[in-house]
Amino acid sequence: MSTTDAALPALPSGEPPRTTRPGGVFARPQTDTGWRSWVTTVDHKKLGIMYGTAALFFFVIGGGEALLIRIQLATPNGKLLSADLYNQVFTMHGTTMIFLVVMPIGAAFMNYLIPLQIGARDVAFPRLNAFGFWCFLFGGVMLNSSWLLGHAPDGGWFNYAPNSGVIFSPTHGIDFWNMGLLITGIASLTGAINLIVTVLNMRAPGMTMMKMPVFTWMALVTQFLLLFAIPVLTSAQFLLMFDRLFGANFFKTAQGGDPLLWEHLFWIFGHPEVYIMILPAFGVVSEIIPVFARKPLFGYPFMVFSGIAIGFMGWGVWAHHMFASGIGPISVAAFSMSTMFIAVPTGVKILNWLATMWGGKLKFSSPMLFSIGLVTMFTIGGLSGVTHAVAPADTQQTDTYYIVAHFHYVLFGGALFGFVGGWYFWWPKAFGYALNDTLGKVHFWLMLIGFNLTFGPMHILGLQGMPRRTYTYKNGYGFNFWNMVSTIGAFVITVSFLVLAYNILASRRKARKAQGVGTGRLTMAADPWDGRSLEWMLPSPTPAHNFDEVPVVRSLDEFWHRKYGEEEDGRLVRIAATEDVVQKGTNTDVHLPSPSYWPIVLAFGLPFIGYGLIYSLWFAVLGGICVVGGIYGWVMEPSVDPDAGHHDPEPGATEPEPSGEAAADEEAALVD
């Protein structure tokens, strides 16, 4: 931020100009350090990190809830939790893990990486991006605040009506579930619009769609799924909200309400949702495996199109969650078939990853181990998924621990394994130091073992008939042994994550010592893994402006091809030293979107409207003022502070000329 020392011109009134900003309110935030920079940031990288941090925070909460579940179920007739508390705990565990952990971790990766991978300065609507993050955070906090305000939601994560109606769940828990998720839904929707526009519109010159990294592709598909799936949940939630708060009759069976309406609406959202959770992780491992196999991704077009196919097919299978609900044999048969065939594009992905590894030179660094973990563990979960798809069989399996095993294998064994691999992989890029690989391997093996100990036995328990969502079980059903094993496994998982926590701290301390920077900024080599996509061209950590110079893209794996050429016979030869092709991060000419207060102001109002609807409309008035004011303040504020540090003018460029009729940027965002 340079200030000019030119003399200040006099004002029309003749008064000497003041040098302080009036009142402070209008001072646009400008810092890029300190807590204020995080609160007001619109930088996709910072937001990505914030998404990740918040998600980890919620993961500890959701994981703690999981541990409570497991302790309760370790032995028959567990006494730790009452039935009421247990119901809240498993509801919040599922809701937290899905909406506040896996989805936002995905969002973290997508926010951080998409602009870098397509060679953009930022996302298309940086403030909207910030707004999305705050919505997610405040929605999640509001949801969890129900613990402190009397009663947490207790309807299960899919919250079937009419059990979620006022009669059967008279506390405010379900209202919190509704409001909290409506608010995080706004985050998902705005995020989806933003990232879709970013990917479609902000690609570097030459980066055609089929030259985009697979991660970006999977992110694009995910965002389209979000774009279309979230409003379905929103509509269902509005119906339920009107029922509970304003006496409507959508799910009141005495008034003719139909509980299956909720089931349909929820799962029309819910099934695309599961692909929303897994596709980003698929994208992550598609980036990792080629790097550590030192081979290009096998069958890039197949990988892309299978992702798109999964996205589309994901819309036609939702009723497989309702096989036992009595929807009639024709519906059951149709949805059974459509569900099975999702295994086809998914199988293509699995086999293509194996084929990528085939003939490669595999280096088992931590990211690679976790990626292989995904490939194998997800397959197990996918196969049990196919056994559910066989509808008659599912009527034996549904709502038993066999299902619990399935979805933990795909969610934990799939999504989380992939994401954890992604952390190890991109950690240097984001934070300027690498995580210790040995500790990473310890983490991996503990997690793999703990995971299988926890969820493997659930297959057996389920087939032995143990129903899910039961706070206790009796002696004599053959459930005792495997439940105990499962509980032990859960603690092994916990230890594995403690290893990760230790790794983060220890590696940072070590890097600090090695670089002698005290509490300062750590830096490291741009390209620690010999990477392939554009983000590895940037210094680590990524500078605020991303690219010194936007690269012109000529091929898939552009960065790789700047380092290596391929000979006739397919052999690689180095054509440039890495140091020569990475960017220095020294450009100071770049004009970035400025930080803003409005996103957080606007988002802050939303939970208040939520509380207002639950408790007293006065809160809602406050919230409404925040929201309306936030919107207009936002709209009237230029997205780029004309005042912000321009650094030095670009060589050759003149100072911007004031042109009378040129519009201010202020309204530019009228609709964003």
Binding site: L200, R203, A204, P205, G206, M207, T208, M209, M210, F224, L227, F228, V232, D258, L260, L261, H264, L265, I268, W315, G316, W318, A319, I327, G328, S331
Partner: protein, 114 residues
């Protein structure tokens, strides 16, 4: 998905009758479209007052409705004159919605016995 490169290619209309992205239709055109829509609406109302019922009423009404919808989308909302990508996104949403909701409603037997 379009496979557009970032090198700005002015997006010319795709052979649409005499209008390009840069030459949107005249005001007169819009007025004529609006008149057509008004007439179509009137037709719908009249239909609903005729003796027709059941499927014989349903089909023409839905057809006119769909026509009106598409006309507003393609003329007033410029989908015809704009990049096809926009149409793809919007109609994907629309068709997805139609598909899933019709499937859900039929599984709830809404269309049975009508």
């Amino acid at each position: 998905m379009t496979d557009a490169t970032a090198t700005a290619i002015p997006h010319d209309a795709h052979g649409d009758v005499g209008v390009t992205a840069h030459h949107t239709p005249s005001d007169g055109h819009y007025v004529r479209v609006a008149l057509f829509l008004a007439v179509a609406t009137a037709l719908e109302v009249i239909l609903s007052y005729t003796a027709l019922h059941g499927i014989a009423l349903l089909v023409p009404l839905l057809v006119v409705m769909a026509i009106k919808f598409v006309i507003v989308a393609s003329h007033f909302m410029h989908l015809r004159f704009d990049d096809k990508l926009l149409s793809k996104i919007f109609y994907t949403g629309l068709l997805l919605a139609t598909g899933v909701y019709i499937a859900a409603l039929s599984s709830l037997h809404v269309f049975a016995g009508k």
